[in-house]
């Protein structure tokens, strides 16, 4: 069968829920961040697929993808800075150890 819009939407839905599964089960902050990256990537794939198959006369989906990639990069950098800082003060990066946010 020739792959089309539905195939790509299926892949991105599956990838989204793989990320959701990881987000629910993981207890380590870095792996949670990895799950969030998977979710953001599935959203990007969705935007590109809609742009390619439904509105090829515009480039708006592509711009949304570019901005999501930029924001995801900023988010990952800030999250990793917070995680490393947390490791310094708590010697652990499990979510159970992040109950207190103050010193």
């Amino acid at each position: 069968m020739e792959p089309g819009l539905n195939h790509i939407l299926f892949i991105s839905a599956a990838l989204f829920f793989i990320g959701v599964y990881g987000f629910f089960t993981r207890r380590n902050l870095i792996t949670i961040l990895m799950s969030v990256e998977l979710i953001l990537n599935s959203v990007n794939l969705n935007f590109i697929a809609f742009n390619k198959y439904l509105w090829p006369h515009k480039l708006d989906g592509l711009f949304f993808t570019i901005f999501i990639i930029a924001i995801a990069a900023a988010e990952a950098a800030v999250a990793i800075a917070i995680i490393i800082n947390l490791y310094r003060s708590h010697q652990s990066i499990d979510v159970e150890s992040t109950e207190e946010l103050k010193y």
């Binding site: 892949i11 590109i48 439904l54 090829p56 480039l59 800030v78 990066i93």
Partner: protein, 172 residues
């Protein structure tokens, strides 16, 4: 079943299988490597869709930037070779159930809905077209979001430095 179709299914399998392994592997470093392959698979899908610029951006930002950052932070925070603790079976089961129910809902919706595209002439996603629209200030231009994202990146840069700054103990 021509070559393009086969490549599509190979890329899809690479993306989904390595994504699944990335969220289930109990060794965190392997998990990061599986994430890397999943992101490469998505970049391959962008190439397959002939959005070459986005594919290049995906490889540069995710594979070259974010995954390397994640691997560095694993080295800084994790005893290497140590396995992540086993999760409770009930938690895994309910998470899998929730994810599966959501996926089933989406797929049912997908098969019922009929998408209708436009028949207008396509704009080629070349770098020239992308650049002209991204920096355009007329209708449909993305100059303002571009500037906002620049400020966001600057704020994130400053924020990272401030957060990761080591506070020196006060000397009395």
């Amino acid at each position: 079943m021509n070559g393009s179709t086969i490549i599509f299914y190979l890329l899809a399998a690479l993306t989904l299988v390595s994504g699944l392994l990335a969220v289930t592997s109990r060794q965190i470093f392997r998990s990061a490597i599986y994430l890397l392959f999943s992101l490469i698979g998505i970049a391959g899908l962008y190439f397959w869709l002939q959005y070459e610029f986005i594919a290049a951006v995906q490889i540069v930002v995710y594979v070259g930037g974010i995954v390397v950052l994640i691997i560095f932070s694993i080295f800084l925070t994790q005893q290497s070779g140590e396995k992540l603790p086993q999760q409770k079976l009930g938690r895994q089961l309910f998470a899998a159930l929730a994810a599966f129910c959501g996926l089933a809902l989406i797929i049912v919706q997908l098969f019922q809905y009929q998408f209708i595209g436009t028949s207008q002439t396509a704009v080629e996603p070349t770098v020239v077209n992308i650049g002209n629209q991204m920096l355009g200030t007329d209708v449909g231009g993305y100059a303002l979001p571009f500037e906002v994202v620049s400020i966001l990146l600057l704020a994130a840069l400053v924020g990272c430095i401030v957060i990761a700054l080591r506070i020196k103990p006060e000397t009395n």
